[in-house]
């Protein structure tokens, strides 16, 4: 039996969320009515000319810099020629042999294995319009007519091409996930797979372990989630191994991932695919990025997810929480600010990555839409530390604060959530529970302390979580021993 090695490279397309399109002044607005954010340039009316968008160039430079790329001083735009109805010029302005960013890398961590994935290039191009086919399937086959929406035509698109350094479905997924985190941290795109603002295509081949030459690759498209990327890569690796072990050959082709069947199928052979007849775009001059601009881009980079994770782990936060904080820039910023104010890092990390994330997801809101401030987290941590709040009550308080009801002290008072640390009041509750459960009391008296948790729970329930659990536990022990 041959042992096989998978070789995977990923091409990523990221739509930049700039104010205007790549080569004209039309707004980038994905929610607009069809064909309302269009002009002579992005409709390719006769005579119209492209002018590059500075904000988009800044965006791609930030992406390139985040991957440690070399930013090329004079890069070139080329025309990529092919006919398609939603490509109005019937060529796409892209970059070819001299792209803006080259030779970068992205470090990923798959269950403790650190792998460096090379980034061959990051280049600038423009998006196409959208074809809407009248068929039931939404595909052109069987459609009576097709409609065209050019709102997306000319939206800035960044293509990120990895080296074939990826060797497993898990690595492929983590590469994509980490790439999303980085781009999101830079604030240049929301990189949502479901909405198409990021798209991953995987070039996959297999070869016997030890062989240097690459096997024939297939390009797999149409993965709409990280999970489907991982599944598609896994399927395609197995498919190729199966073909080869059965004595077949792999065809150079583009394959379509079907989420429903969990399989890939052939879309078109690469031999049949177009000769794009690339040539330098004569309507644009070489894109000059001077040294000062490049330095400014590198200097302005925010803390990237990997660095943030390392820092958090070094400060004692567990890996899982650090990973979550590393993923979302504004959570991390809130964390940093609260710790700066003196809050306990572990408690704040747990709230943010647990309760806060859950709250945001449940209510479908963004962190910035809530009124949660670092001062609140600091105050909350203080109230737990001095036993004003139980840790259970603290979670409730946090919920009310997120809902905008006030500061932790205000909502704790308003909802009567302060911890009961009055031994007299709690003793009465303990007595009541024990009186209602004579068998439990009997066990405790015989020195079997197992039911103690049950009693604490009952008391907590009766006090709606406000009892100081340590104090309750002490009271129960003394009752058991006293008799």
């Amino acid at each position: 039996m041959t042992d096989w090695e998978a070789v995977i490279g990923i091409e990523t397309h990221v739509e930049l969320q700039t104010k205007s399109k790549m080569f004209c002044g039309c707004a980038v607005n994905f929610g607009a009515e069809p064909n309302t954010t269009v002009c002579p340039v992005c409709l390719a009316l006769p005579g119209a000319l492209p002018v590059p968008n500075h904000e988009a160039i800044e965006g791609i430079l930030r992406i390139g810099a985040a991957f440690g790329c070399e930013l090329v001083e004079d890069s070139l735009f080329h025309r990529k020629n092919y006919f398609y109805p939603d490509l109005p010029k019937n060529y796409q302005i892209s970059q070819y042999d001299v792209p803006l960013c080259i030779n970068g890398h992205l470090d990923i961590d798959v269950e403790g294995d650190e792998v460096t994935i090379g980034i061959t290039r990051v280049h600038m191009e423009e998006d196409t319009g959208k074809s809407i086919h009248s068929s039931d399937s939404g595909r052109i086959h069987g459609a009576d007519y097709s409609l065209l929406d050019f709102n997306r035509s000319g939206v800035p698109l960044v293509e990120i091409v990895s080296e074939p350094d990826i060797h497993s479905p898990e690595q492929a997924r983590e590469y994509a996930a980490e790439l999303q985190r980085v781009v999101r941290t830079l604030g240049v795109s929301d990189v949502r797979l479901e909405e198409g603002s990021v798209r991953f295509d995987a070039n996959i081949s297999v070869r016997p372990v030890g062989q240097k030459e690459f096997g024939t690759r297939a390009e797999v498209k149409n993965m709409n989630s990280l999970r489907s990327l991982q599944r598609a890569v896994a399927f395609e690796i197995e498919r190729q191994i199966g073909v080869l072990e059965a004595g077949g050959v792999i065809v150079l082709e583009t394959r379509h991932w079907d989420e429903g069947t969990g399989t890939t199928s052939s879309m078109r052979s690469k031999e049949e695919s177009a000769d794009y007849r690339y040539f330098q775009e004569p309507d644009l001059v070489p894109l000059h990025v001077d040294d000062a601009w490049r330095k400014r881009v590198f200097a302005s980079l925010p803390e990237l997810p990997a660095a943030r994770r390392s820092r958090l782990v070094a400060s004692g936060i567990d890996h899982q929480a650090a990973a979550t904080l590393g993923e979302v820039a504004d959570l991390a910023a809130l964390f940093d600010a609260a710790v700066e104010l003196g809050a306990d890092g572990t408690a704040v990390a747990n709230w943010l990555t647990g309760d806060v994330v859950a709250y945001l997801r449940r209510n479908e809101v963004e962190l910035e839409e809530t009124s949660l401030a670092p001062e609140h987290l600091c105050e909350l941590a203080g109230m737990v530390a001095d036993a004003t709040l139980s840790s259970t009550a603290a979670k409730d308080v946090l919920g009310y604060v997120l809902a905008g009801e006030g500061t932790p002290a205000q909502v704790a008072a308003a909802h009567d959530l302060s911890q009961i640390s009055d031994a007299g009041a709690l003793e009465a509750e303990v007595d009541r529970v024990l009186a209602g459960n004579p068998d439990v009391l009997e066990k405790l008296r015989q020195g079997d302390m197992k039911p103690i948790g049950f009693v604490v729970g009952q008391v907590m329930k009766a006090t709606r979580g406000k009892a100081d659990p340590q104090l309750v536990s002490d009271l129960i022990r003394s009752k058991a021993g006293a008799s």
């Binding site: 009316l45 005579g47 000769d275 040539f279 004569p282 309507d283």
Partner: protein
Amino acid sequence: MSDLADLSIAEARDGLRKGDFSAVDLTNAAIYRAAVTESHLHAYLTLDQEGARDAARKADADLADGVDHGPLQGIPLAVKDNMTTRGIETTAGSKILSGYVPPYNATIIDKLHDGGAVLMGKTNLDEFAMGSSTENSAFGPTRNPWNTDRVPGGSSGGSAAAVSVGSAFGAFGSDTGGSIRQPASLCGLVGVKPTYGLVSRYGLIAFASSLDQIGPFARSVRDAATLLESVAGFDIRDATSYRGERPAISSHLDAGVKGMKIGIVAELTGEGIDAEVNDACRAMYNKLSDAGAELVEMSLPATEYALSAYYLIAPAEASANLARFDGVRYGLRVDGETTEDMMSKTRAEGFGPEVIRRILLGTYALSAGYYDAFYGQAQKVRTLLRNDFASAYEKVDALVSPTSPTTAFAIGEKTADPLSMYLSDVCTIASNLGGDPSGSVPIGLDGDGLPIGFQVMAPALHEAQLFRLAAEVERLAGFDARPALATSEVKPA
């Protein structure tokens, strides 16, 4: 008494301000001239009489209010029909754009409006500016005002014929390989292709983007300078537009050529050039020398390959530029079984044979496996040619040659033989590949009474130098002939 339609722009400008006549008078004179000559010439594809008269009234009203928009205010001008005009059909001479009415103005049109000019209409051209005779127009050829059996040159033949005959006081064309200078030469006019990037291309329907440049046609060097000054300058909508200060243009028109060093392009004398043209140019070299210029023969070796390089680069760019004409969004659509079939049928039906020939040539030159041998090689020639020009301009201030190897040829004479037609551009193409300014000035008539053009060339952005030399050539030639059709006495055909 001379007809208003025969005035120079400078005379018309002064007369308007003195109150000798109104812009409406000028416009009516040009419209009348068009009315009697169009059936002979077919210079215009669209003659916008109503729009022209409205603009003229506006110009008169502004002048009466003391609002002066500059030297083109109230002057009737024509533009080649490959510049988009909001609300006015713009066809580029192609069936594929027949009936197409753009929703926006080319930058040059906005500038002309801002300058108060009167837009007479849109002039005929070889389809998508591909040709040297205006016979490739989908709407029929334009004829030469000097002899209507002859071509006016091309591709801006309509603009040349209109100015020559007086149905416009000046006009704009586009020049990709000689499409302003060659028709200017064949119609006895001054025509200038400015430095690449000096006039915005926004709204110019592209033929070959790296070569296309808009420029003026006029009956005098001074008028040509005035026209160019009114439209030159940086445009944020054209990324290849020149960003620096606009160079001086008409500052040295009377300076003469004393002390100027002028190179005669060795490769463009003698072989392949008609003897009468050659002789006329030689006579002008001597006159320039007598006027105090120092003339030396200069070799630009790469010129020999310029035509071949041009006929790879221009079609290659055109093959992509014309891809947008697919029947999907505007213009002609011929239905088909599939989208691809529709596109294919639309293009086969909508493009004429010369356009199809160049699209095929350009597609081939860019194809995998052929790119290096054709397009790549042509780009190298272009670099060599630029080096040739650069080293020439280290030694001389300007270069001169004939504009066209022949005077106006007969309609139909070269249509069956594309190569002989391509050779019409042999003298003009190098300036497009180099990006430098270049112009044609009429210096006399041949034995058949057809005009001979003299080409002047200068380094990039040295328009002042170019116009200085052109003005001296104009003085030395003393060319004041007009075609027989340039009179309102002529009867419509």
